[in-house]
């Protein structure tokens, strides 16, 4: 069955949404219009650090900026949206631990940005107790 007839005002797409209990299509479209929530990410962690995968299709890799400041990771860039509007996006993540900004690795492949950041090693200081 050819479900999709044309890209504009596809009548079958509405039908699909009615059939599905959960309107995934609506959510999918909502993502694209919320600049503050772009890009979509998957975040993984372990005791050594953080791994982030972000969808950055359509973003110029030269204009993509990944920055770490204490415990905040920020992804910034410029994207030409599917509906033609060009917009700057910025998304920050507050993490419950500090990150080591010197050892970030970031790579883009097939429109996916993969970031790997180690945690800041805990500083151990020995506190001497003065004898009174």
């Amino acid at each position: 069955m050819k479900a999709y007839l044309n890209t504009m005002g596809n009548p079958w797409r509405v039908f699909d949404e009615l059939l599905n209990e959960f309107p995934y299509e609506l959510l999918n479209r909502a993502w694209r219009s919320r600049a503050g929530l772009y890009p979509r990410v998957n975040v993984w962690e372990n005791e050594k650090g953080l791994a982030v995968e972000a969808e950055v299709a359509g973003v110029d890799p030269d204009k993509l900026d990944v920055a770490v400041d204490a415990n905040v990771l920020t992804i910034k860039g410029e994207k030409e949206q599917a509906d033609g509007t060009r917009g700057e996006f910025q998304r920050s993540f507050n993490l419950p631990f500090e990150l080591e900004s010197e050892h970030i690795t970031a790579a883009v492949k097939n429109g996916m940005l993969t970031i790997s950041i180690p945690r800041k090693a805990a500083e151990k200081r020995k506190i001497t107790i003065a004898k009174q």
Binding site: Y4, L5, R40, N42, V43, W44, G111, M112
Partner: protein
């Protein structure tokens, strides 16, 4: 004896969500440019077919699995991108070209010669 033969995680793997990818069409005098966003899809993983005048695109994204890490936040699901376009008569379907770059599929759909804008010379007289 359990009636459930297929464990849940295997069912989940097979049944990817079908999603319509974001796309846009731009028009110039020579051709239409159709851009489809397929993040997480490599050019060899795109199924692009033309049947009569219907152009179909199917692709599955690849979402990374970081071994020995715990998943904290999932916003990117594993999906099957699927969309189709009925190309208007103005398009010369034999000249369609496709290129993939950084998660974007860019299709150039040339216009038929007759519909391209032409300058008409005005004879003096």
């Amino acid at each position: 004896m359990s009636l459930i033969k297929t464990p849940e995680h295997e069912v989940q793997k097979v049944n990817r969500l079908e999603v319509t990818p974001a796309s846009r069409v731009e028009e110039s005098g020579e051709a239409f440019t159709l851009t489809v966003e397929l993040p997480g899809v490599g050019e060899n993983d795109i199924e692009l077919t033309l049947e009569n005048r219907t152009l179909s695109i199917t692709a599955e994204n690849t979402v990374q699995n970081f071994n020995d890490h715990t998943l904290v936040l999932t916003e990117i699901p594993e999906v099957r991108y699927r969309t189709a376009f009925d190309l208007p008569e103005r398009v010369d379907t034999t000249g369609i070209q496709a290129a993939s770059r950084n998660g974007l599929l860019i299709l150039t759909l040339p216009k038929r010669e007759e519909v391209k804008p032409r300058r008409i010379a005005i004879a003096a007289g």
